[in-house]
Symmetry: C3
Subunit: 430 residues, 3 copies
């Protein structure tokens, strides 16, 4: 994952344009079934409109001798996102209102965008800015901002059930490692892993889209299907550092996606913060909005807006580490494992099934035999009596954890028993 992020770090991503396409093509090399979708500029998406496509060929500030002082080719962060074309010679005073730096982080190039208002600008470190001199400066922005399309991608890994588990991240941030190449990196590895599972119960849906407008566009084209099928979803962002773990609660309180993530973070005994909905800031804003109401939660390491490197060039390959990425992937693998391993079953008929004819019930009935014999293939297997108890909760509502907690039977035994009765065709997964 760290290598992928290194490869993609300097690709000039934005809401639209070739940088997004290059990034998604890279992901498609690893996940060949990824589907890339182009959505035309100008299309109405709920309350929004797909913006014009922005592509940059070159952009720099040069001194009078042609030396590039600030160069987009060195780091795409130097150019304000969606800057309009520009080519002129300016004095320092004329240039000044178009410069962005952060005096508190004198070595950092800040990340600035102006998607929906026509302006131009350059971002540079305070140290650079202090040394710029008086000019005159040649300012060149060789860019196009015209009708085209917005690019996003999804990958669907079908399972035996139509019920879906969804993961989403965004691909519009340039040249920052944690925010946001860690999300695409971890989800690529997760999708690769899930794609190799020989058997999946759930159908898995991965979405890589530009933030906000990309998610809105995706949602607008798939909303009915998503509302009918997604049982749990997560927005994955800023998952590459090692500092802490973070969860953002859904709008109306813990849903399955929240509970499962919190349960895993609890059991891992890692340090984590569960932020309230009011502290959200990524695409859960769209997926969990009223009218959409998808059962989403959000997972981060250090949450966006909460780490000092956030939205600067300091969010780099030192901040994001192989270990940080792997730990995040481990959490999501555990999410998947628990979802897959916690089936809810339903019996076919009213009444107990006939266990005797399937070799699951003692063929001879005595005072003690019939209700305490271990079946042959025990392991974690429960007694025959407890097997009927587990069966009695195969009503489509109880998974193994709920059955164990309701009955006091050991979870391992409940799980083994559910496996057995499922193998025997006594129940169907729902």
């Amino acid at each position: 994952m760290h290598g992928w992020i290194r490869d993609l770090l300097l690709v000039p991503r934005s809401l639209t344009g070739s940088g997004v396409r290059t990034t998604l093509e890279y992901v498609k090399e690893i996940l060949p079934d990824l589907k890339v979708h182009e959505i035309e500029s100008g299309l109405s998406v709920f309350d929004w409109e797909i913006p014009n496509e922005w592509n940059v060929k070159d952009a720099y500030i040069a001194d009078s001798e042609g030396r590039r002082l600030v160069d987009w080719k060195v780091n795409p962060l130097h150019l304000v996102g969606y800057s309009i074309p520009f080519n002129d010679v300016l004095t320092r005073a004329e240039l000044e209102p178009h410069l962005h730096s952060d005096a508190n982080l004198p070595t950092a190039i800040p990340y600035v965008t102006s998607y929906y208002s026509r302006r131009w600008g350059f971002c540079l470190s305070q140290n650079q800015r202090d040394k710029l001199g008086d000019g005159p400066f040649t300012v060149v922005i060789d860019a196009t901002l015209e009708r085209g399309s917005l690019t996003l991608a999804d990958l669907i890994l079908p399972g035996r059930s139509d019920s879906e588990v969804m993961f989403t991240t965004y691909v519009c941030h340039p040249s920052m490692a944690n925010n946001e190449l860690s999300g695409p990196g971890v989800l690529t590895a997760l999708a690769d892993y899930i794609g190799q599972l020989s058997d999946r119960w759930y159908t898995y849906r991965f979405v890589f889209a530009p933030e906000t407008i990309g998610s809105l566009a995706y949602m607008s084209q798939n909303l009915t299907h998503l509302q009918g099928n997604v049982r749990a979803g997560w927005v994955i962002s800023c998952v590459g550092d090692e500092r802490t773990y973070s969860h953002v609660m859904s709008r109306l309180g813990p849903n399955l996606a929240d509970s499962l993530l919190l349960e895993i973070l609890d059991e891992k005994k890692v340090q984590y913060t569960s932020y309230p909905w009011g502290d959200r800031g990524s695409d859960e804003r769209q997926f969990s909005s009223p009218g959409a109401d998808l059962p989403f939660s959000s997972f981060c390491r250090s949450k966006y807006s909460e780490f000092p490197e956030y939205h600067t060039s300091l969010d780099d390959l030192d901040f994001v580490t192989p270990r940080g990425l792997q730990e995040s992937l481990d959490v999501l693998l555990e999410v998947v494992t628990r979802l897959e391993q916690r089936p809810r079953y339903k019996v076919h008929h009213p009444g107990e099934p006939n266990l005797g004819k399937r070799g699951l019930y003692p063929t001879i009935g005595t005072a003690t035999s019939s209700f305490s014999t271990q079946t042959e293939n025990s392991g974690g297997m429960l007694s025959t009596h407890d097997l009927t108890t587990v069966l009695s909760y195969c009503d489509g509502d109880h998974d193994a954890v709920r059955i164990a907690s309701r009955t006091g039977l050991p979870l391992i035994g409940v799980k083994a028993t559910l496996d057995l009765i499922n193998d025997q065709g006594l129940v169907e997964r729902v």
Copy 2:
């Protein structure tokens, strides 16, 4: 209000007849849009029947010299309500079973009715009764009790929404100030006030009807509409004294009407009693009955049945005061204010609306800007980020108070934000 009650005090009201009409015509002078309805005697109303109309021309007990000892023209309370016509000369012994007084309140004329059983009688103070002498007495009741109609009135003040707020009181009690001219007085002032509001969200419905049979008649003709539209309703009775405040809880526990009234009484820090449903006694008996199930509550000052002057001539213009009436009106004005000021909104689309194109979102995105900028017209305005949080609860279920309590955002800011996003057409009130 005190002046209106003074004007109406001696109008001889009863379940039916000219006194009710006179009273409603008086109210209609103040509220020209009041609609007066006549409902024919004999009409079936649920389990009841509209009774014959009762009108009195004269009624008295005179001594042998023609001196009126007890005179309906002096005070309508002297005649038992719905007394049948009578004209004869009686001895004291013959008269005695037809007299009603209260030895515990020797100066009070008690209020007695016999709506559904044919009898006649006179009410007088114990002091009067003690001085009556032995007779003979000329007893005259020049009255008619024959087919006619029952009179009631309603006033509908349309708002922008079809959702209704309803207030009801009764107009069948003669010559008592608190019970029941205070209710008509306060509701007349309240309707006058609401009618002058330049803008109303809710539609307001005022009902002035004879108690029980009048409310039943009104309900039977409007039940489906009321059940579909009334969001909160109050029975208003005995609201003119200064002693205390009272609330009567609805049948199945606090509804919106109960909660709002109790919240206001709490905040006013006045002394009040919240009576259980079992202590009810006015038209909540009809409006909250099973099968009707309208979301009603009841508001009084000293509750009917609970003050010594109740149902006697001591319930007069000294007991009811301008200040008592005004304080009650203030409570109901506060009820209206809070209802009007606590809209629930709903967004038009899934996903966040596009705030940028409406000037509500910074057009330039930096690490800190996008999620903490105060918008220009602040005041109590929240940050842009908090504005999106408020928007995310515009799901039709949350009013400002619930949003503030769920998010921890200041109520004033939530309200200002809701105003702003409503003005901007981002949401619609529901």
Copy 3:
């Protein structure tokens, strides 16, 4: 009841065959309206199949001189249930694998069955077994196991309502007094008692069926009706001893059947155990299964599996006593009494009914009269005002106990008032 059980003790019952028929014919002598149903072998019942019918003419182990050492005619428990026909001379070693005894209870004949696996065997006390000698032994099982039918019976005692109360027990256990002749004995007495009630609100359904397959067969033929009509049901088993009382909780927690039984056991201040669903073991396994979901609970004295005599010949007429049976019957009579005496009523119309025209309201209204007069026929009768309060809860959801607990009115008064307003036709029972 003890006499009935004595008469039936040695009838050779099993899942099918003449012993079940003889038992049900005996019950039908007492309950002439009992309907006996025959269900053909081979019929599919949910996941099961009705087994072949088993009938025994004779079965014994004799020594070489023809003396019967183990004789089915002495006690049907001596033969393993559903033993296949057999006739041969065996050595002790050959006989040994077919013998069942219990070294811990050396005087007890254990109860052993092999319904669904073809085998044969004899049960004997350890003492008998120790004295058997070396053989050779003549082993004779003169039995048939062939297509026929399974026999079960039900009795329906219609009430004024289609809502049903159901009691079920089983009739497949041979020669044991508590498990299971106590259930049939107590239910026969209960049905006889209920049949003599001059008036029943509920319809009562009694089912006497072989355990498991009999209940499944009955349920499969009546499931939709039972799901639509049964308001509460109980499985009755092992109700003849004096040691303790037992309840088995339903699958998803206390339903009406559980609550009512527990309330009665609590009030009787007897010693009892409430077992969780996991400890169930009788036909609640079928009636409460997912897909059936009937509102059942289970009642025992010492619960099956929990007493040392369980499933042995020690479960006899000394263990089961007249007093034990009577005490169990008393509990069930109390169940019926409380169900019958706790009607829920519903008013006919919105609004209060007109009480005056029915003589239930004072015809003269004064300050105090109208709301505190006792009606004539008091007893436990409430005031007129409280009568209207009781009426206001006649919404189909509140029985007397809930009304009393919600209003604080005395239960006896609420009940008397409900009787009165029901007699007056003001409400209908639902």
